[in-house]
Structure formats: structure tokens, C-alpha cells
Symmetry: D2
Subunit: 284 residues, 4 copies
């Protein structure tokens, strides 16, 4: 039971929903889910439609080009086509903390996240035992100020070799260069351990403690050249109190980090995320 | 800036979204919001579409009949048409507690809930001062086992006189007769002070305390002949601890009751609720 | 059934709990609640004890001085004594928005917040009808850059005349002068419409929308000379999505503002808040 | 840095806090945390105190008996003494689902839960690979109606052999006999996949879907002879909508199950839980 997914965005104008829905119907697609939205700030129309491939008149490889020719080009649409039976290949980048790594791997193992993890990359050797437990290659690529460009070249080669299409920074504590980020636009998801824009940058839990906040949070976002400024995919928080030390904030925050990162990765691989104007549309 | 709202439900079949969207477009409606859903359990298709009336080819009074004739009848659709500039007339039923009453009235007063409250009905005289503060007629209709049918006849007459189309039980502690409920199907919204189906019936906070739960909640639902069994529109909870007495549960629960009831009333008057098979679809 | 409340803070040292508890017991007080905490960052001991006055050996007016002489002075303790049957006199400052004002007044009216509101102060005349509804004097004191010091003198006089001991800024959109704030240290509670430290300053919902956050929040804090930097008493958030416009954020945020402000005011008047080092201890 | 923990419960009477605190001080213990509570429904006093062992006048093995002799016996106190450097030995019972198992093991591995897991017990062979990954013995003990008593005898022997003091049912889908439960009173923690008392018993997510609830939850409780009726330690919920299928409820609920079970296990091994009258006190 495989479905096609169409993501569309373009300047808003009347009749777009009907036009797209009619195109799918004309080629004998049965729409099982359709959601659309107009971003009022930028007057941008976004739509996500999912229909059954069974009985559809076009072959998989023809869908994208045919849609563009018959509908998209006339409305200056950006469009992308995906299929629900594709399993994206996802690289996990980590440093010293294991909680997000364990969480993602156990979800993949339980069949909860339909993706493959061909490689784990780290600037430390510390989490190799976790990778070993799951039988996944672990690439230890140390990064210093001096070796950064060489290290990133190694990382890029590794991603290419493993056919990776999404990079998840699962508490990876190095800043990627602008060149790296440009190469992987909207294909790198980070988890930041604060409710952005509060406490962007280093040591957010320490600063949260010093400020005396009553909630701490986590934010998952696409990585852009501006640190911690990329489009937010998911956020959540947990309540804390005066009884909590910095260590308690760290511990409680971890649960939120795990949940928020998993939620963002799931939304991405289910092709429910579109970025417009630096903000995400995350379809239901 | 007034929009039309169309709510549709029918047995699922291919092409329904495209059919409805094309109909709106053909009559020169510009869709600003469309959401659809297929309830897998009952194989029912539900859709909510909203489009601008400005430039629309059909007059308000013709929309419903024209849609039924041109689209709905052929697909066994149930359909309803509303307009965003309509202000529903809503009666509030209360007993002794003021928090939900104050909350709804202050939201109406602040322009947050686009509805009118022509009358407040109560089986006690206690909350008359609140009604007076807002200049709303207050009908004190005592209810006993013996007088119930007479009392309900009085209530019905009052609702008719005031042109009421929605009854909100804002902590009204009397059970309405089956006859009353039948007359107002999906037009009576209740707030129950527990997270149903837990603690249906009387004294839910006391029973929650005795059971030692760590959360208490509130549930807003349409009233049906089966007490506390009607379709749920909104629910929420609040955390409690061993430090909380029954009185604390009552107090903390009130905040949840207020929020949940207001959320349900808003969803209803924005025509975002459809009932299928005893369960609600509450569109985004 | 009236209880005494003792709040204590001092540099930490061994035996403080036992010392304070023994003092209460020696004077025949029956402790009904005792909570203590050591702030690890500043090594400060804080304690809140509540005991029954019935049978207590000391008169109300002697408790504070006797405790200081017999215990507090020897340990460099700051201490305060309150009684649960005191009803603090609280002034509400508002501008144009009614939701926090309505919420607080309806809680007082329902007996949920044990305090009196002798006066409502505003820089606009707009919310006078709300004050009238509750029969509370409404002082319209316009504030401009030029008239600010005169206006604040008027406000101060009014607070003195009404015997006010706590000022609640219930969406009051003027910045109080340093002199005013100094005069009312830890006696002014503000509600800011963001999860501080994110979006301090003006128009937080607009900036939240532009940043594309997935949660918005509210923060209640004591007012200090540094705008939006005072000790945080309560915070909460609500989830939002790409479907929400700025107006939706404003509306959803209001519910959080009401809850958070009410929670902070309650904590203050129940004498459960202590400020140490710019951070609050809010006892259970 | 090891601390002693004292848990006390007894009928309430004046002076208990002072008495306990004075006893700790007299033996030169420095209290770092003390929390007390009076359960109003049963008039029971409960207290948890934690003090530094460094400099304490009594040896570890003497603390319990000395306290009982000098304080506890005179007040009919139940008391327990623990030490923060003890690592409890915990057996995990599982069936087919891996999420709670992975979650607990990864927390232990990351040093987040200070406990040891000497054995994993299951009525299926399915999760053996997970146990292997963590190098933990996996005992496959099938259970049928006929073999139950034999199987439980095997389980009991295994627990004894491994020096287990706490059993965690991490989605173990068999009902333990009354005899087993009696043997391990307040030493078996279960996770039930609903917000009890709603949907006690089998297939809670299916029943939640059929009822059309807008929240699903999870409950962690001590196991008693009455199924799903034991004292609740922790509960939480997650919001769902009409878009969610039963499978979605199951998936979303899993995240809550993991969190709630981990929270309950943590509270237990930190000796923060006391059961009074079928309800838990869970100290901060």
C-alpha cells in the first residue's frame, strides 16, 4: 500500500486547491489526505496531498515532471514528490551524550521511524559502544579549529558514500561551516537544548538556572548559516522549580530533547514540513 | 470580509475533495481554508471548506440548496452552510458556581467569542448578581423531581423567545430529560469536571482524590441521552500532587474547566465540529 | 482556624531546620506545613513553616520580634511573619486589555483569591465599565513622557490612601520609574506576554510569529529596575502551529497570561514566595 | 558524598517535625532536605529527611534501630532508612514491545538511573536481542494458564538468585498471581497504557479511540491484587485529535509510557515514595 506525496508552494491565487485536486483525480489518484494553508504574512500558498498509487495513471518517475508541465509551471509552483514506501538514509552526528542517539536508534529498531541509519559520525570516540550495540558503522572524526575543513571533507565523503539524504545532529556539539550547511539546505536537523530564541548559544541550562526560569525546553530546527536561527520544526518544554539544580535541569531537559528531536525527524521523513520565509509549515 | 463555511460528511469514495473544490471554484469562490479527513473506523469522509463571499456567484440563501442539487445529493452527502459574520445566540445554564459563567461572559465582552448571550438560566438564584453586572436577563427556574417537566417547558419557551440556537451548560448541575436533549441535538455543550471516561457522574474531584490520581481534568462534550457519554469536543488536564486536598483539586480543576469549555464553545461557533459515529472531528 | 506563617532565609549551616521547628514547638505551635530548601548556587537556606495559632503561647504582635531575638539574630536570618486570615489589599493596574482584569476580579468574587481590590488604576479610561461592574473605584491617570512623574505621584498617593500593599500590573503597558519600583520592592507583580527571557520588550507575539516558534508563553515576575528582568514567579506556555496568525497567538496567549498571573498572585498572597539572589523560591 | 534517607509515617500529632529534626541534629547529622506532609483524609503524618553521613555519629547499620528506639516506637512510627549510594538491583519484565525496555536500559547506561539490571524476564523470546545488546541475561519463561504457577516459581527463584529488590513491569502483558504480588508488596511497578482509572484492563488505546477522547495517557503504579487499582506513582497524558488512528494513539502513547515509567522508577529508587491508605506521597 504505497502512496504518493505532493508538496507544493507558490504565491497565493484563487482556485489552487481545486486545480491540484482535479489534476490528481484526472490521473485517477484517490486522495487520502489533503491539507492546505495560506501563510498570511508572505501570501504564500502551501499544500500537501497524499494519494494512493494503486490505479494511478502515471509511473512514479513521471509524476513530478508531469505535474510541473501540466500544473506547476503555470502557477510558479515549487513542488516535490515523495513516496511513502521510501526509507530515507539518515546519518546521525553525535558528541558525548547518548540520550538522543539511543532514543532514535531504539525507535528505528522498533519500526517506529521508517528510515535507515547507515552511519554514525562523532567528533569523540565515546559513543562507539552504542553504535556497536546496534551494529552501525561509527566514524570518529575529531574536529579542531585547524582540522575543521579537512574533517568536514571527510564527513561529506562519508555521507556521499553512504547515500545519506538527511543529517540529524543528535547533540553534536560542533558548529558546521557555512559551506557544509549550504550543501545540505533543509537536510540538517539539529536539537538545541533550550526553547529558542531564549538561551541560544552555549550552556543554555546553566543560563536558565541563573535566570531562574520555571520552564526549560528544547527546539528542533533546520540548520542554517545563522547559529540557532534556522526554521523551527518542533518545540516543547518541561516545568522546573527552585528545587531543581542545574543537573536536574539537564536531566529533565533531556527527556524533552529526545521527544522534540524524534518528533521533528518524523515530520521530516513523512514529508510534512515545508519552509516558507524562514518559518515552517508542519502539516498535521 | 465575510466567508462561507461548508461542512460535508458522507461515505468515502474517490474524488470527493476535487469535486467539492471544483464546485466552489466554478461559482467563483476563493477557498481560504480547506481541511478534509477520512474516518477510517467508519469510512466516512468529512470536509470543511471556507471561501470568500466577495465575488461569489451565488446568493447566501441559495448556497445550501444549490450545493445539494449540484453535488451533495449525488454522493449522499450531509451538508451544512454557515457564514463567518453570523453571531449565534447562546443561552448559558448555570447553578451555583460562577467561574465558567464569568469566563464566557468576559470573553464575549472582550470580543473574543463572536456570539450573543440573550439569557442566563439557572435552577438557583445565586448567580443573578453576575448576570446583572453584564446586563443580561437572568431566569431563575427551580427544578425538582416533581417540577422538572414544567421547568423544562419554561426553559424551552425561554429559548424560543430569545431565538437561541446553542445551549451551554456552564456547570449546570441538573440532568436534562431525554426529550429536551433530543430537541437540541448537538446544540447543547456541557463541561464535565473530569477527564472522561474517568469519573463520570457525581463528585468527580472527591473520587479523584480518593483514587490518588496525579492528574485531574475536564471534558467538554455534546449532551446526549446517555449521561457523560456524548461526543467529546475538548479535554485537558492539570497535574496535582499528594499535597493537594480535595479543595485544591476543585480549585485547580476550575481553571481547566474554564479553558476547555471556552475552547469547545469557540470550536462550535466557528463551525469546526462535526460528529460522526459518536466521535467528533474538530477541524484545526 | 488561623495559622501563622514564618518565612526565613539565611546563610546555610547545620541544624537550622531543627532549630526553627524546636522554637515553634517550644511555644506550643502545631506545625501543619514545613518546607525548606538550600539554594546550592548561593548556599542560602530558605524555610517556610505554617502552624496553628490556636494554643500558641505568643500573641500575634510578639511573634516576629520574639523569633528574631530567640533564633533569627544568632543566625543572621531574614524573617517575615504572616497570618492566613489576613486579606492583603491589592491595586490592579491596567491599560486597554480586559482579560487579566476580569480573571482576577472574578476569582476574588468567587472567593478563590483571598484579597481585596480597593482600586483599579489605568492610563486609559477604557476599562472603567469593568470596574463599575464590580463596584470598584477606577482611577484614570493618563501618563505621557512629560507627565510621568506627576502621574506616579498621584498613583503613590492613591496606593497610600487605599492602604495597598501589593500592586499587580494586569497588562499595564507603561514602564514604572526606578523610584516607583524601589519604593515597592517585591510588591509589584507583572505579567509579560512571552516566555522570558525570549521576547523581552515590546510586541512579543509579533516577534514570536516572525520567528516561527511552536510555543508561546507568559511570565509573571516581580518588577525591578531592569525591564522584564525581575525574579520569575510563574511561567507557562501553549502550543501554536503554522495555522495560527498573530491574532491567534494573541488570543491563545491570553489564556496563558490569565493563568500565570493568577498563579503568581496566589503564591504571593499565600506567602509562598521568597527571592534569593534574583531567583524565586516558590514553596509547594 | 553519601547521604542517609529516613522515611517516616504515623498518626499525626503536634511536634513530630521538631522531634525528628532534633534527633538527626543530636547525632550530628546535617539535614540537606526535609519534606513533611499531613494527609488530611487519613490524618497521617509522613516525612522524608535526607542528611549527610559525613560526621554522623551513628554507623549505617545502627541508624534504623536507634531511631526506632529513641523516637519511632514512642509515636507508633513506621520508618525506613536508605542510603543514596546504594544501587538497587532491578529486574525488568517485558513481553513484545521494546520501547520501555530500551528507554530504561539507555537511562541506566547513561548514568541517569542509579540502579543495576541483573536480569530481564519475558514470556516471549522476542526481545532477547535487546538484552544481548546491553549484555544482560535474558530469561524466557513462557506463561500459560496451565504453567503459570510453575512459571512464577521460576521467576521467584530467578529474582532471589539475582538479589533483586524491585520488579519493573515494562509492558509485561501477563497478570501476576496474588501470591506473587503479596510477596513483593510495593516492590513491583507497572506501567498501564491509559490515564487510570479510565480504560483499566485490556486494549485501552482501542477503547480510547472508540470513545473519541482528545487525550491519551499512561499511569505507573505499584501492583496490588486488584488489577490496575494499585497506588498511582506517576501519570501523564498527550493530546490527540480526530486525525489520529488507533496506531497513532499507540505510537503517541508510547512516548508517555516511557516518560511516566522512568519517572516512577526514579522516584522509587530515590526513596521519595510512601504509600498511605492506597495513595502515594511522592516527595519533590
Amino acid at each position: 500500500m504505497s502512496n504518493a506525496i505532493l508538496l507544493v508552494h507558490c504565491p497565493d491565487q484563487p482556485g489552487l486547491v481545486a486545480t491540484v485536486a482535479a489534476w490528481i483525480q484526472r490521473h485517477r489518484g484517490n486522495i487520502v489526505d489533503l491539507e492546505q494553508h495560506v501563510d498570511a504574512a508572505s501570501d504564500t500558498f502551501v499544500l500537501r496531498a497524499e494519494w494512493t498509487l494503486d490505479g494511478f495513471a502515471l509511473g512514479r518517475d513521471d509524476i513530478g515532471a508531469t505535474f510541473a508541465r501540466e500544473v506547476g509551471d503555470a502557477h510558479a509552483m515549487g513542488s516535490e514528490v515523495y513516496f511513502t514506501d521510501e526509507r530515507p538514509r539518515v546519518a546521525l552526528f553525535v558528541s558525548r551524550l547518548s540520550h538522543c542517539l539511543y532514543d532514535l536508534l531504539s525507535r528505528v529498531d522498533a519500526g517506529e521511524l521508517p528510515m535507515d541509519v547507515p552511519v554514525i559520525v562523532s567528533n569523540h570516540d565515546r559513543l562507539r559502544p552504542v553504535a556497536d550495540r546496534f551494529g552501525i558503522p561509527y566514524a570518529h572524526i575529531p574536529v579542531t579549529r585547524q582540522t575543521k575543513s579537512v574533517a568536514e571533507a571527510d564527513q561529506q565523503r562519508l555521507l556521499a558514500d553512504h547515500g545519506v539524504e538527511l543529517v540529524v545532529l543528535a547533540r553534536y556539539m560542533q558548529i558546521l561551516s557555512d559551506g557544509f550547511v549550504d550543501r545540505w539546505q533543509q537536510q540538517i536537523i539539529n536539537i538545541h537544548h533550550s526553547f529558542l530564541p531564549a538561551f541560544a548559544g552555549a550552556r543554555p541550562y546553566h543560563r536558565a538556572f541563573e535566570r531562574g526560569v520555571k520552564i526549560v525546553g528544547a527546539t528542533s530546527h533546520y540548520v542554517t548559516a545563522d547559529l540557532d536561527e534556522g526554521p523551527i520544526i518542533a518545540q516543547d518544554v518541561v516545568h522546573v522549580s527552585h528545587r531543581d539544580t542545574v543537573d536536574d535541569l539537564v536531566r529533565k531537559g533531556r527527556d524533552t530533547e529526545k521527544l522534540v528531536l524524534a518528533r521533528a525527524v518524523r515530520a521530516h521523513i513523512e514529508r510534512r514540513v515545508l519552509v516558507v520565509d524562514g518559518r515552517t509549515t508542519v502539516f498535521g
